[in-house]
Every structure is written in C-alpha cells, then in structure tokens.
Symmetry: D2
Subunit: 142 residues, 4 copies
C-alpha cells in the first residue's frame, strides 16, 4: 500500500441522497465512510455487530469536500488506518470517482471499542487488530 | 374521536428530507408514519423497544400522496387504528399541514407483534392493546 | 420476460439502514424501489431529472414485507411495469436476495409525469414510453 | 450571547435515526447541524434555497461525540458563528439534551456561498451577513 488505501469498495448512490441542490447531501459522505468501515470490519476482520462483546462507537469524525457528486453516479471509497491505539483506531477515507479516481472528499473517523453492555473502553479484539495491521496501516505490504 | 385521529403529533422536517425536486422525498412520509407510531407506542402505551419481549414488525405499508411539502415546513401526523387482531394492528395515518389542516398524504401500516428472539407472532401485549382500544379505535370516546 | 422482471439491479445496503432491531428499516425498501426506478429512467430511458421539462412524481406506493434483511447483505431489485397510462405508470418491484433469489419484499409505485414548473400532468415523454413498452411491460419479448 | 449559542432550536429524533446499537447513528448529528443552519438561514436570515442566486455549500464539517442519545429522546441544537469571511462562514454547533442541557456532541460546519449556476464563490449576501453579525457572532449583544 504505497501512499494509498489498503481497501477500496464501491458505494453506489441513491435517488434520495441528492438534496435540493441536486447533489449528494453532505451527510451521505459520512454514511459512505461508516458503511465502508463497518463492512470491512464484518467481511474482512470477522466482526459481528449483532453478538460481539466489543462494539465500535464513533467518537469523532470529519470530512473535507473537494467536489460534488450526484445520483446515479457511483462512488468508490478508499480506507486506511492512520493510528492504532489500545482501544481506538483512526480511519482515513477517500471518496473517489470510480474511473478517473478524482477525489470528491476525504474524511476521518475515530472509533473506540467499548463493551456492548457497559459502554466502557476495551482493547480492540485481537483478530480486528491483526487485520488492521495487515491490510490498513501505511507500512502494510500490499 | 369523530372520524378523526385519536392522536396527533408534530413532525418537523429536515434539510436532507428534500430531494432533487426541492420537496420531501416519498420515503420521508414512511419515516414520519413509523416515527409517529413508535413514539406513541413508547410514550403512551409503555412499549420499550430495547427490552420488550414482543416487538412490532411492519408487514405492509402504503401511502397516497395528495400534495407536496418542503423543508423547513413542519408537518403534523394524525394516528388511529382501524383493525386490532390478536397479533396485528392496522394503523391509519394522515399527514397534515399544521395550521390549515390540509391533507398532504394518507397512509397505512400493518404491524405484527413477534417474539424478539424467535420472530414468531405473539399476542399484542395487554397494556398496548388497552391503550389502542382506549385512544385509537374509531369508537373510542374522545 | 416470462412472468418476471424486465430489469434487475443490485442494491447494496448501508450500516445506517439497519434500525434498532438490527434489520433494514421499512423505509429503506422504498428508497430501494425509488432508486431502481429513477436509475432505470436515467440510464436506460434517457431521462434527465435536472433539466427535463417533465418530471415523475410519486402519487402512491405500497410494500409487502415477506422477510427481513440486514446490512451488510446486498439486495437485488426487480422492476417491471403493470400499467401504462397517458401520464402515469404503475411500477411493480421485487426485493430479492441475490443468490437464492428468495423474495424479501414486493412493492408498487405509481408515478405521474408532470410539468416541472406547473406540476400539472403531461404525457409521458415518448422515449420513456417506448423504453417501458420495450423492456418493462409483461408482454415485452425478452 | 455570553459564551453560548445565539440561536437554539429543537431537533426531535425519528425511529429510523437509531442504528443497530439502539442509539442515534453518527450521520444524524450532521443532519441535525445541517438542518439547524439551513432553517436559521431561511427563517431568520431570509435565505430562499429555491431561488437565491447564491447558495451555501458545505466544504468541511466535523463532530465530536461526547455521549449517545436515542429515539424518542428529543435534542436541542445551539448555533453560533466563529468566523465570517467574504464568501465563507464557520458555524459552531452544540447538540444538547433539552432539560439538563448536557452536551451530547459538538460540531463545526464551513459553508461557502457560491453562485447557483457557476458554483464559483460569491460574497455572502448582505442580509445574511447582517443577521450573522447581529445574532450569531460571539460579540453579538444578546
């Protein structure tokens, strides 16, 4: 992964994503980032949001919008991790146009893993940590 | 309740509710109906969606759109019940403009109460049944 | 098109589509149907929602829910037309699981084409009518 | 306005705002902020999103989540401006519980006013600038 994203996933748009200005509402970019991270956690890192004792809560997020996009244009999301702590992980995402790879937006998400019941921080589950280290950290071989 | 709704609740709109045509997307009306029913179940009928052994699943819904509405215009939702079975209830809803009471849309929802774990039908909890009979059936005194 | 759908399109789900019960909220099915119809109108029938003098407004819709589905499970939408009037078209949609083709839900949408400015009914544009007749009516050869 | 927000508005929640974890999905906070800003622009500052030659596009946003909230709990949004440039304005928002005024989240939005057609930056309309200076800047008398 040379300066890029360790994971890339398609993110098709929906009719109701467009707002009054005929382009994707800003909230949709957060839904795209949230979806990309959770799908990766579930499908690649083996996370089960319905039964895992640890769940990932978003404690902060941000987005910079470089260009606009509109349904029915599909988007592509790139995902990498920039910081991996004991309980928390900082994700960096890029929202791209599929063919040109033009950047539409960049964003960050910080997740803290907490106990499902007490909602107190817990260590990131070992399998998830290993998958992040293997696939999403900048010095991962890819 | 003479031909009208036993319960009326405000439903403010959001910027992102408007779609490319500058009016509320059709899906928002379903969100408005869903929200009105669930808020009534929780706040009036004592339903607890986080712990109740019976939960209400939507098995069918419909909506007729008479007029359009746009953010930031607030809406008002009227709620009544038209049929109360052993496990299921048919809700009828009206989406109204607050001051004029002009009708924007009318809709129906059918909920079946099921066991949270097995998802098999169960009788409507007694307290909820009593609240529906008391406040939302056409022959309720109001 | 022998009893089936003239058009089938993928509909990936999003993290925020799941509600408190851990399955797709009922409103998402309407978003899936709305998205499938509009994408078909734009990509197959040449409709331009940003500049066309005629736009399609939803005047009624309905959905029957046969099963539940959850993110990150992808869905597939089938589309056909059951009635084609002067200004209006009735769409029938099926929400399916991609591999098994198990039916999750079925729904209907009625669109009326109206003038963008006056919002009065106008004839369905000829190119759209032809595409519906060619691809989405039950007696289309396919 | 002594250290606080020049404008406060209610933000009721919806059933579908809750995600699989039974609390408001992170994207809803952005919808709450977006809605509060646009409602203020329309209702207080005289902005007309359907016809104004200048429209406000979001170029960046961020949110810090201090606590969680769940439907049917209503929220309250506080709004102030922290920087007012020629074409851009930085909004600061607080998401609060209505009675306790406990802070649930804080966020920022940067809007750039652009020409509706060319999407090139234009000066903030005079009436909007005056309303921001009067009601939302920290040194406004209130």
């Amino acid at each position: 992964m040379s300066g890029g994203y360790g994971h890339v996933a398609p993110f098709p748009t929906r009719w109701s994503d467009n707002d009054s200005y005929g382009h994707l509402n800003n909230t949709i970019y957060y839904s795209a980032m949230d979806t990309t991270i959770n799908a990766w956690l579930i499908e690649v890192a083996g996370f089960d949001p319905a039964s895992s004792s640890a769940i990932a809560l978003c404690v902060s997020s941000s987005c910079e919008f470089q260009a606009s996009a509109s349904f029915p244009e599909p988007l592509e999301l790139g995902l990498r991790a920039s910081r991996l702590g004991t309980s928390s992980v900082t994700w960096e995402l890029g929202v791209l146009r599929p063919v040109s790879h033009d950047l539409v937006a960049t964003g960050t998400f910080v997740h803290v893993f907490v106990d499902r019941t007490t909602r107190r921080p817990v260590p990131i589950p070992a399998a998830i940590r290993a998958a992040i280290e293997r696939e999403l950290l900048p010095d991962s071989a890819a």
